[in-house]
Amino acid sequence: MSVELDVFVGNTTIMDKEVYQLWLNGYTVNDAVKVRIEGGVMEECEASAEVLLSDTMDQYRTFQMCERLLHHPAKLANQLLFQIPPDRQAMLIERYYAFDDSFVREVLGKKLSKGTKKDLDDVSTKTGITLKSCRRQFDNFKRVFKVVEELKGPLVENIRQHFLLPDQLARDYAAIVFFANNRFETGKKKLQYLTFQDFAFCAGQLINNWTLGAVDNMTEDMDVDLDKEFLQDLKDLKILITDKDLLDQHKSLVCTALRGKTNVFNEMEANFKNLSRGLVNIAAKLINAKDVRDFFIDLVEKFIEPCRSDKWTSIDMNLYLTHYTNSAHILDTFKHHAVWTRYMGVIKSCILKMYHD
């Protein structure tokens, strides 16, 4: 004796937010029922476990049928099969494309390839997120990547329009796409302390200032590839460390400005040349794709770590970077003001964002 078939179809598709989340989290029907029972919905509505099971299965089936549409969110609005009020549609899309920070940290900057997908079970074990959910999140990244890859125009705007995502989520996806495209290394131990939001912020800075899109806004890949010309120009900054006079001059200007304004002045003075070399070297190497990948690890190793060991505060950091950037403009023999501003603007905000425990 068994229920062979059990369906419920409403003219307006009924979707329970709670069950949707359980489905998205990759729970099996039975696990979802358990969670719901623990949640106390049974007592609330005088239902039995049987009723709950039937409802959960039904909802799961509905979600599975909708999943196809969620892959192309624009279709959800003009499909005829399910009558879903727009606010519900927005909820469905937003939650479907939402991701776990702990998951994204694992794949950020990795190639969104089959190989990476195969390793998802390790990610699942490590993060405690179900494999099913990992796959969904990974596939979302990949899908967004594929679609925007071939589109012209601003990255965030493209993502928002094609996937009908809220602004913040669209920005996060832009970061993921940007990282995946440039294959930034984010997995090293030294970078573990950084959150996805740190990286997303940096990605936003890079996209807005260092890509082609920052200068020309109608080319392909404008927001995902760094501006090659700019990277080439960065090599010219080397003069700041190779020219000894310039380096000394720069140091004295910064030191004059900072004297008495910070508790770590001595350490700063002692370390100035090292730090400056670090930053300028990073700039000079960015023309090589391999070194682009190491951008964040370089920032941490060459700059953040020394400062941290000297116990700089964020205020010290801000002060130092401001004067370091501005002083270069006063140097008489230094001609590359535009490139310097473009470079240091991003570096400064990235470092400030990344400078925490």
Binding site: V3, L5, F8, V9, N11, E44, M65, Q83
Partner: protein, 1036 residues
């Protein structure tokens, strides 16, 4: 050449990938009507083709326009091999043929394939130019309006109700023509779909002709069904009520006549306005017409009309007494047909005084006698000319005659709330018909309209008139227990009333109602042919008897005294019979309070046994009082009938005059009243009774905040919000072999109960809400499978029942005024009952001997008092009505909610289409009926597992059917379907072969409604409502 059909193919979207190599499709479209086909160009390499075709024009007879659907086939062009079909769209042209319905079909329609389901959408434009045809000999009946709604549609007024119309057409089932060859699923399914579309069209046309002949212009309560007989054929039959309707023109002209009306429409308009009444009623219709009506569907067959041979009928026993139908049924076909048509057109002596309506204009329904039903078991393989409709016509003839004679026996001249159904298993077919015997006012039968103002000058006291017995007290055809009406104290009423109609709006009801179901399973031996039919025939009376016992007990248990919307479904399978009776129980103020239920044991020697019984008795009593509280039943009576006092036991028979053609005289002998036992005593000596009691007590009450009924509205709830949710739920249960009757009963009952529980859980967010029009259908798809399908609507309401609030709810203003009126009346009566001395009259015993009663004086005074009160409330009620008609003031709560829902929907590019099985939409006014929606789909799969198993398959299919209904309604310019029903859901599976097939038939009325709150800006709203879909269409 009376019509020109024009179609334009605009574009497609979301097409499937047909060419794997390019991941694209080279789509083109074939547009076919009758035998003419047009093609669009191939739009290469696109999933969103823009054909923008010319107008394809078909010049056709209006007869064809009515019969044929427009067929649109989308194909993928293939240079080297045959073109692949992507899918089809069938468009019913009928709504375009009626001047008052839709003018254009325009919008995105799903492209449907019977194997793959919906595969993208196509944007089409369809128009009809109809030339006026005054030819009286014509075969078409364009312009006759059809409504599924079983009451007078909301924006119409009944000038005349002409009566019963029926028709039946037969054809070979294409599914059974593949026997010798290999069946190709797609071809077979499509042939079947097309055939049923054609047959439905033909049926509608023929019924339309009958309506014109009777002088009507519309069919209300149109109920079309199809019987898949199998090898003997495919039957499509329909019944309805012919009416002359008149549009109520209280709305601004813009609302009724959209500005974009085509010139052809203007031509049509006068045509039907004038023409319909012009058709003479008395001068018989010309003969060619009649011949056509009864000719077979396939003209190639020579039609031999040698009557319905009697050996196909199992009903051999001559009927006695009321069985006058026997002789009529045996008349020769054509003669009978002729006779029938003539009698039908003659209003005075109509053959079938039947009405498929379940709700009536005020003053139409005078008295209700009780439920009348008839069943008959037939063998399909005994039909001599399976391709001819005669035999089936004769079968139904017989049953209708029986119903008629039952009604007569109840002293009634009419049957209302009439419906017919069948259940087929292999070669056995059970035909059933049921209705409510009634006496109707002659006002709507004669020419001469009724003014709206007259409604409240009704002589019959509102609220109790229909309860008064129509039959002669001294000459009752069954033992009944009569009392004086508890409202007016003037006329006799029965103790219990069963009906198949909706609760009359003017009825006085105490408290709220609830859904009551009786469920029963009976095993039977596997048998063949006549033996099988006899076995079924023998089982039927017992099945019905037990169903009624259950109903009666459950009614008592809820402290109620009347059932409305009673629907008894009997389904036959190889090894069992299923019976499901659903109704809405209410407490009619006019009827006596029901007695309790007493449990009695036969051997009172044992003390523990006695205790057991008294425990059970206590439980029952507790349940009754709990139920009374739950449903707010506080009857005005003070003296409650003492439980267990001996009362003559007339119950089932009295309300339910049922029979069964096979054994109709057996039935009259069959004592349905347990001999001389007490009416409400349940003997628990036999296991059956124990089971009964358990069944009674296991029905779990509806959870807090929920109400349920199977009628249109729930008495006691008025302030609906605009939040509605229509749904269909289907369950199939697999049984183990070798179950006892008890075991089966339990399983079946649990299945229904659990289904209800699931529904309550699903819809918990709508609380407080009422599940209205809960329509259960049961089937036995194969051995050991039970299928239950439910379609209903959940409607939220505001808890605050303040009278101030109840005032507006616009389109229902009238009803509201009446019900409101009732409420006041009820209140007054309660007061009255309290103030007047405890009335011993409420004891049924006292009522049987009125004259000798000592407190007759008291009764008289209270009666007069009541009359005064009533007069007062009536006056008040009518005043209120006029004021609320003048201005629909917005309801605060309801409005805020509707506004919210509106806002949230406005962003969608797909027009929202509401669906409801009810005839109205709460908080909204229906401003236009666009025509009937009657769709039939088949879906089949050979990859069941991949589609998510049986549940996944059916879930998708039902969702697809909803989507197609919505799309077609939107294309007609509508925003809702009312009176929606899923009349057929035939599901077959073969999991071993990974296959399944399902057939679904749905129908309803496409309408345009506007929210009450938006009524002020009517004209603007209408405009936007009509243009809404085209907007939606463009918003790709």
């Amino acid at each position: 050449m009376p019509g020109k059909l024009k179609a334009k193919i605009v574009a497609g979207r979301h097409l499937p990938v047909m060419d794997r190599a390019s991941d694209l499709t080279d789509a083109f479209v074939e547009v076919k009507f009758g035998n003419t086909t047009f093609k669009t160009d191939v739009y290469p390499k696109s999933l969103n083709p823009q054909w923008n075709s010319e107008w394809f024009k078909f010049e056709v007879d209006d007869e064809d326009l009515q019969d044929e659907p427009l067929q649109i086939t989308v194909l993928d062009h293939d240079t080297y091999s045959a073109n692949d079909a992507i899918g089809k769209v069938y468009i019913d042209i009928d709504p375009l043929l009626c001047s008052e319905a839709a003018t254009v079909i325009s919008g995105w329609l799903p492209i449907y394939d019977t194997i793959h389901g919906i595969r993208g959408e196509i944007n089409v434009l369809v128009k009809v130019d109809l030339f006026n045809d005054l030819n009286r000999f014509r075969q078409s009946s364009c312009g006759v309006k059809f409504f599924c709604t079983t009451s007078i549609p909301r924006c119409y007024r009944a000038v005349m109700v002409h009566g019963f119309v029926e028709e039946l057409v037969v054809n070979e089932d294409p599914e059974y023509q593949w026997i010798d060859r290999i069946r190709t699923p797609r071809a077979s399914n499509e042939a079947r779909q097309r055939l049923i579309f054609l047959m439905s069209g033909e049926l509608q046309r023929k019924i339309g002709l009958k309506v014109l002949e009777m002088g009507g212009n519309a069919v209300v309560g149109y109920l079309q069904c199809f019987d898949l007989e199998g090898e003997t054929g495919l039957v499509v039959r329909a019944i309805g009520t012919a009416c002359t309707l008149e549009k109520i023109s209280t709305l601004p002209a813009t609302a009724t006549h959209p500005s974009n009306s085509s010139p052809s429409k203007d031509m049509k308009e006068p045509g039907f306005g004038e023409e319909a009444p012009g058709v003479p009623l008395s001068s018989g219709p010309p003969t060619p017409l009649r011949a056509q009506t009864f000719s077979s569907f396939s003209p190639s067959k020579s039609y031999s009309r040698q009557s319905s041979s009697s050996d196909t009928e199992l009903s051999l026993t001559p009927k006695t007494g009321m069985g006058s139908g026997g002789s009529a049924g045996k008349e020769a076909g054509p003669l009978k047909a002729l006779l029938r048509q003539q009698t039908q057109s003659a209003l005075e002596q109509r053959e079938y005084p039947f009405f498929t309506l379940t709700a009536f204009p005020p003053g139409f329904l005078l008295h209700v006698g009780g439920v009348v039903s008839a069943r008959s078991v037939k063998l399909l393989d005994r039909i001599h000319n399976p391709d001819e409709p005669e035999t089936r016509d004769a079968w139904w003839e017989e049953i209708r005659q029986e119903i008629k004679s039952h009604a007569k026996a109840l002293g009634c001249h009419a049957v209302v709330g009439y419906s017919e159904s069948t259940s087929i298993c292999e070669e056995v077919c059970i035909l059933s018909a049921s209705g409510t015997a009634a006496i109707l006012s002659s006002r709507f039968m004669q020419d001469g309209s009724l003014d709206t103002e007259h409604r409240f000058e009704e002589v019959v006291p509102p609220g109790c008139g229909f309860c008064h017995i129509p039959y002669d007290e001294l000459n009752i055809p069954f033992p009944a227990q009569l009392t004086y009406c508890y409202c007016c104290r003037r006329y006799k009423v029965p103790d219990v009333l069963f009906t198949t109609i909706d609760l009359p709006t003017e009825a006085n009801v105490t408290g709220k109602g609830c859904l009551i179901q009786a469920r029963l399973c009976r095993t039977k031996k596997k048998a063949q042919g006549e033996g099988n039919a006899t076995a079924i025939s023998n089982l039927l009376p017992f099945l019905e008897y037990e169903l009624h016992t259950q109903l009666m007990n459950k009614l008592k248990l809820r402290g109620m005294n009347a059932l409305f919307g009673l629907r008894i479904q009997i389904s036959v399978g190889e090894t069992m019979l299923l019976g499901l009776a659903s109704a809405t129980g209410v407490y009619l103020t006019a009827l006596p309070s029901p007695g309790g239920i007493q449990v009695a044991g036969k051997t009172p020697s044992d003390i523990t046994y006695e205790q057991h019984i008294s425990n059970m008795q206590k439980k029952i009593n507790d349940t009754i009082s709990k139920n009374k509280e739950l449903h707010e039943i506080n009857p005005p009576e003070v003296v409650e009938e003492i439980i267990g006092s001996p009362i003559p036991e007339p119950r089932q028979r009295s309300r339910l005059f049922r029979s069964h053609s096979e054994s109709s005289d057996e039935v009259s002998e069959l004592d349905l009243s347990h001999g001389k036992k007490d009416a409400f005593v349940l003997e628990i000596d036999d296991t059956d009774a124990v089971e009964d009691i358990h069944a009674l007590l296991t029905d779990s009450p509806t959870p807090a905040g929920f109400y349920s009924c199977n009628t249109e509205i729930m008495p006691g709830i008025q302030n609906w919000t605009s939040a509605i949710q229509m749904f269909t739920s289907v369950r199939v249960f697999r049984l183990n072999a070798n179950l006892t009757n008890q075991g089966l009963n339990k399983i079946f009952s649990d299945l229904c109960e659990n289904l209800l529980k699931s529904l309550y859980f699903k819809l918990r967010s709508m609380v407080p809400c009422c599940l209205c029009h809960l329509n259960f259908t049961v089937a036995i798809p194969e051995d050991e499978l039970i299928q239950v399908a439910v379609t209903a609507v959940a409607m939220s309401f505001d808890k605050e029942q303040s009278l101030e609030n109840g005032k507006q709810s616009g389109e229902k203003t009238l009803i509201k005024a009446i019900t409101e009126n009732d409420e006041q009346l009820q209140f007054n009566l309660e007061l009255n009952a309290e103030t007047s001395s405890p009335n011993p009259l409420s004891s049924p015993k006292g009522l049987s001997e009125v004259g000798s009663h000592p407190s007759a004086r008291d009764r008289c005074s209270s009666w007069i008092e009541q009359l005064k009160l009533k007069a007062h409330t009536i006056r008040r009620g009518s005043v209120k009505t006029t004021s609320s008609l003048e201005k629909a003031s917005p309801l605060p709560e309801g409005r805020s909610r509707s506004l919210r829902s509106n806002r949230s929907y406005s962003g969608s590019s797909v027009a929202v289409v509401k669906m409801t099985p009810l005839s109205f939409i709460p908080g909204a006014k229906i401003i236009k009926y666009l025509g009937i929606i009657n769709m039939f789909f088949i879906r089949e799969t050979t990859s069941l597992r991949e589609e998510g198993g049986v549940s996944g398959f059916l879930h998708t299919f039902i969702a697809e059917v909803f989507a197609m209904v919505r799309a077609h309604v939107a294309a007609l310019g509508g925003n809702a379907v009312v009176s929606y029903s899923m009349k057929e859901c035939v599901f077959m599976e073969n999991p071993n072969k990974n296959q399944a097939q399902c057939l679904i038939n749905v129908s309803g009325d496409a309408v345009i409604f506007i929210q009450e709150s938006e009524l002020e800006s009517t004209s603007v709203q209408t405009q936007s409502a009509t243009t809404h879909t085209s907007n939606g269409g463009e918003g790709t």
